[in-house]
């Protein structure tokens, strides 16, 4: 059945009927070309925005919420308003026991310090951290390692510093690992250098949590906590539950919304994801709708062509062409038209994406990152084109075979 595809005459006839009226053929193809171009350009741009978004949030466990103490706004159980509730290290177990769906609960302490190395000095945020942080907020280490359990247990004076800090405290290409820096007059050994992500709040220098506790005399106090939810748990609910537990432990009125501050990354992320999903849906919708309009234009033109070729079709049938052979030829024309137009559309869509990428996709502050479409999408579009092309080709093809050969021959 598909042997005809390898026959020279099939393609000769195809090129004859398509090149007989070049302008019409080209105008016909513009519809499909434009449709697929839009689809590719829009999908690619949407992908670019999504990529950008992923880069922004990439290193984070995104279903996280940050909670810290502020000050109470209601008097409760004999306590005056305006009191500052403290987060305590000893509360963590209770939170873990009371609240369902917590994957990680990470306490952090933070302060602003002067860092000195030889004659160089600079102010940075210093954070006391557990090794667990690396799980939630993947540290992109360029050299060395992150804090480990050993550092915690022996309250070692070690520091993991950001690339920013490294550049300010070290000479270019100088090896930082094993070198010492002074944080508030105490020497720390540098064990790792990391590249900052977009959501690294506050700190450029990480030291072991226990070291921070001891050096700065924090006792049981914690600056703030990071809570990460398990999959399938609503991060908003977790935030509520954690806050309620904290209010209980600190004798804060349950309706006091100002006592604890928070930033819910998961909620923000969800909203963004919804936006991206909507954008993608719109893109597919607009692209495919345009494509369908283009394919219909091709069907329309082929219908006119068939009318013009009535006599030729009559001759063919008089000398022995079966209706199927006639149909096959016209459907093939439709498919070739759509696919060729589609391939041009994909190529020019690619060019547009390249232009978009070089205009908006460069540098750290770019609107989008790597605007592109996958081979899979290109493949799917081609399949869609072939399917649409054959379906629309059936209309003129059927029309061509409805005409009786005798009527076709009579037509002058």
């Amino acid at each position: 059945m598909f042997r005809f595809l390898f026959d020279f005459d099939t393609w000769q006839e195809l090129s004859e009927s398509l090149t007989k009226n070049k302008i019409r053929t080209i105008i016909t193809m513009i519809g499909v070309w434009w449709g697929i171009l839009l689809l590719i350009a829009l999908l690619g741009s949407a992908r670019g925005i999504e990529n950008k978004f992923n880069v922004q949030f990439g290193d984070y466990a995104t279903n996280s919420v940050f909670i810290w103490g502020q000050s109470t706004s209601m008097p409760f159980k004999g306590y005056q308003e305006g009191r500052a509730p403290r987060l305590k290290y000893s509360h963590l177990d209770k939170i873990n026991n009371n609240v369902q769906g917590i994957k990680f609960l990470i306490p952090r302490n933070q302060r602003q310090s002067q860092i000195v190395r030889g004659v160089l000095s600079s102010g940075f945020g210093v954070i006391g951290d557990f090794p667990l942080l690396d799980k939630v907020q993947k540290k992109n280490l360029t050299s060395g390692r992150f804090i480990n359990q050993n550092d915690i247990e022996y309250t070692k004076k070690v520091a993991v510093i950001s690339k920013d800090a490294y550049e300010q405290l070290f000479e270019k290409d100088e090896n930082a690992i094993g070198e010492y820096i002074e944080i508030d007059d105490i020497n720390y050994k540098v064990i790792g250098v990391f590249k900052q992500g977009n959501f690294d709040f506050g700190g450029q220098i990480h030291i072991p949590f226990t070291t921070f506790q001891k050096v700065y005399n924090q006792g049981d106090n914690i600056g703030w906590i990071m809570v990460t939810g398990k999959d399938g748990y609503d991060i908003l609910q977790i935030e509520k539950d954690v806050k309620l537990t904290l209010k209980n432990l600190n004798f804060v009125h349950p309706d006091d919304n100002r006592a604890f501050g928070s930033f819910n990354l998961g909620e923000l992320f969800k909203r963004f994801e919804g936006f991206l999903l909507g954008m993608q849906f719109l893109t597919w919708f607009v692209g495919i709708a345009t494509l369908i309009a283009g394919v219909f234009a091709i069907g329309n033109i082929l219908l006119i062509t068939v009318k013009e070729r009535t006599k030729e079709i009559g001759i063919r049938r008089a000398i022995g062409a079966t209706p199927f052979e006639i149909k096959r030829q016209i459907v093939l024309e439709a498919v070739i038209l759509t696919v060729v137009a589609g391939i041009f559309g994909i190529i020019s869509g690619g060019w547009i994406l390249m232009a978009v990428d070089s205009a908006f996709g460069q540098g750290p502050d770019s609107v989008l990152v790597n605007a592109s479409v996958s081979i899979f999408i290109v493949f799917v579009s081609l399949i869609i084109l072939v399917v649409f092309g054959s379906l629309i080709g059936l209309i003129p093809a059927t029309r061509a075979t409805i005409i009786k050969p005798i009527d076709a021959l009579r037509e002058e």
């Binding site: 005459d9 049938r317 000398i319 022995g320 062409a321 209706p323 075979t401 050969p405």
Partner: protein, 229 residues
């Protein structure tokens, strides 16, 4: 070879119907050269279309080479046309974007022959009609007589049992007409069966038998002495 018995055909024209063929009886043996004559409206074109399996009869019998032609679907009709019949039209009906040899090869394409074999056969028939040197020319570059000879070559290409010619000289001047008729006579001499529809007495006289139609019936059916130019 061709047997027609009590053939009827009518066309619906709105509410009324037009009875075109009112019981035609006709037998043609192998090797005959028959002219069908009649004025317009006599039903000769309708008869030719039915014989050519381009149209269907209402009642009566029609068989071609002992195969009954009745209630054929389009696919079978196309195959029978290809196998049994060769058509020559008044207006040549060549496909104008194909050159001479490709036009001749077209019936063979629908027979499913490979390209090489097709073109070889087509060349052979083109040589027979004396147009070997014009094989690569498009129909628009050929004269009327040449076009008709290409059309005859195309009709012969599928080695049909019966060659049907509908006013084959209708669009040609008298000299060329004679040439074409001479050529058709030559084909008949080689043993081919020909059926020629014409309204010109000169042309009819060059055949071996004349069947005259009038108002849908056979008025006269006689063998004549063939005129050889």
């Amino acid at each position: 070879m061709l047997k027609i018995k009590k053939l009827h055909k009518s066309y619906k024209m709105g509410d009324s119907s037009l009875h075109v063929l009112k019981g035609i009886d006709l037998n043609i043996e192998k090797g005959e050269m028959v002219a069908i004559m009649g004025s317009s409206g006599s039903g000769k074109s309708t008869l030719l279309n039915i014989i050519g399996i381009l149209d269907e009869h209402d009642s009566g019998e029609y068989s071609l080479d002992d195969v009954e032609i009745k209630n054929l679907n389009e696919k079978l009709a196309a195959q029978y046309r290809n196998k049994f019949l060769g058509f020559v039209f008044q207006s040549f009906n060549l496909i104008n974007f194909k050159n001479a040899v490709e036009n001749v090869a077209l019936p063979l394409y629908y027979q499913g022959l490979g390209r090489k074999e097709r073109l070889e056969k087509a060349m052979f028939h083109l040589e027979k009609v004396g147009l070997k040197d014009w094989a690569k020319h498009l129909p628009s570059e050929l004269s009327g007589g040449q076009k008709q000879r290409v059309a005859i070559a195309r009709a012969l290409a599928s080695e049909p049992k019966l060659l049907l010619a509908d006013e084959p000289t209708g669009a040609l001047d008298s000299t060329t007409s004679t040439e074409i008729m001479q050529f058709l006579q030559q084909l008949n001499d080689e043993g081919r069966t020909l059926l020629i529809v014409t309204h010109e007495t000169d042309i009819a006289n060059m055949c071996k038998r004349i069947v005259k139609l009038k108002d849908g019936i056979v008025m006269q059916d006689k063998n004549i002495k063939q005129v050889r130019p």
